[in-house]
């Protein structure tokens, strides 16, 4: 029973890890790295309590 649970956790990790990697790559390909960068290099007025 324990082995079965461990196996399920391993399969779950592999599936979630694959989804994470695919999402990250898809995000980079649709230009989100640049979008994140362009937002982060400007002062976020909401974050600091001005905007």
């Amino acid at each position: 029973m324990k082995k079965f649970t461990e196996q399920r956790v391993l399969i779950g990790r592999a599936v979630i890890g694959l989804i994470g990697v695919l999402f990250l790559i898809a995000g980079i390909f649709q230009g989100e790295f640049h979008t994140t960068w362009s937002k982060a290099v400007r002062i976020c007025l909401e974050c600091i309590g001005i905007g």
Partner: protein, 275 residues
């Protein structure tokens, strides 16, 4: 003690642009396109990378035209590898809260009420980080990072105070909203002297995200059921609202290892070494 050094090192690495504090200006390098796993405002003059919560809210504001793959992929991978170890080891605001808790004042220990309050962070995640940014994006077409704007004490401490104090034009622009954010920050800083990690336990949406990965995270601590005598000492000595080692409220700090008389609690990576 080792954990404290890791917390300090991560806070310094996240905010390695030290000259930014003197200039009251933020870093513009390419690393700002990458997120750090912990809560660290990207408008902090020292920050060399982006905040995952700020990035998530902004990405959701663009959801009508683009699915937020990048930040979701980052959060999934961070959660999968580290889970809430990020809260225990890699969060600068967590470090600040732990240091403030060392101030010798009466302490409010965990109980049934704090356990109930620990669910609040999921509501904040759903409402301020996901629903409101999505609502404004679809209805009005403009971004509203509502958690950053109305709640985030890390943004006020790291970005707000440093920039507003050092930049006269920002100081002139500070109004009611800034006063509100400073009040929220003060409430959190004072409360954390009495209540261990008050923001982290009850309000932090990033902790709520990572808690979803607690059971499957690759790194962290776990109980060897073969050795455990179920004495409950680990849960009793923990200051977080956990009911079992490694559950959603456990920040995987490993302090319970010292109180376990049978050595049943161990780091997950130790197990790999045996293979």
């Amino acid at each position: 003690m080792k954990r404290r050094w890791i917390q300090l090192a991560s806070a310094l690495i996240y905010n390695a642009n030290l000259k930014g504090f003197g200039e009251a200006a933020i870093y513009q390098g390419k690393t700002k396109g990458v997120c750090v796993p912990g809560l660290n405002c990207y408008s902090c003059p020292g920050a060399i990378a982006a905040c995952p919560l700020g990035t998530l809210q902004n990405a959701l504001s663009s959801a009508p035209v683009r699915f937020p793959f990048y930040i979701l992929g980052f959060l999934i991978l961070s959660g999968l590898f580290l889970g809430r170890m990020i809260c225990g080891f890699l969060c600068p605001f967590g470090l600040i809260q732990e240091l403030l808790y060392k101030i010798p004042v009466p302490k409010y220990r965990k109980n049934r009420i704090t356990r109930i309050l620990s669910w609040l962070k999921y509501g904040i995640l759903a409402l301020f980080v996901i629903y409101i940014p999505l609502y404004f994006a679809f209805r009005n077409g403009f971004p509203l990072p509502s958690f950053c704007k109305y709640i985030c004490p890390a943004g006020t401490l790291e970005g707000g105070l440093t920039l507003v104090l050092g930049n006269p034009s920002l100081r002139a622009a500070a109004g009611v909203l800034f006063d509100w954010k400073v009040l929220v920050l003060l409430l959190f800083l004072v409360s954390t002297c009495f209540v261990y990690r008050s923001f982290c336990r009850f309000f932090c949406p990033l902790g709520a995200v990572y808690s979803l990965f607690s059971r499957i995270s690759i790194l962290g601590i776990e109980v060897d059921e073969g050795k455990c005598t179920h004495c409950g000492q680990c849960v009793r000595q923990c200051r977080m609202d956990m009911k079992a080692v490694g559950d959603r409220e456990c920040i995987q700090c490993g302090e319970c290892k010292q109180v376990c008389h049978v050595g049943a609690i161990e780091w997950k990576h130790r197990k790999w070494r045996r293979f």
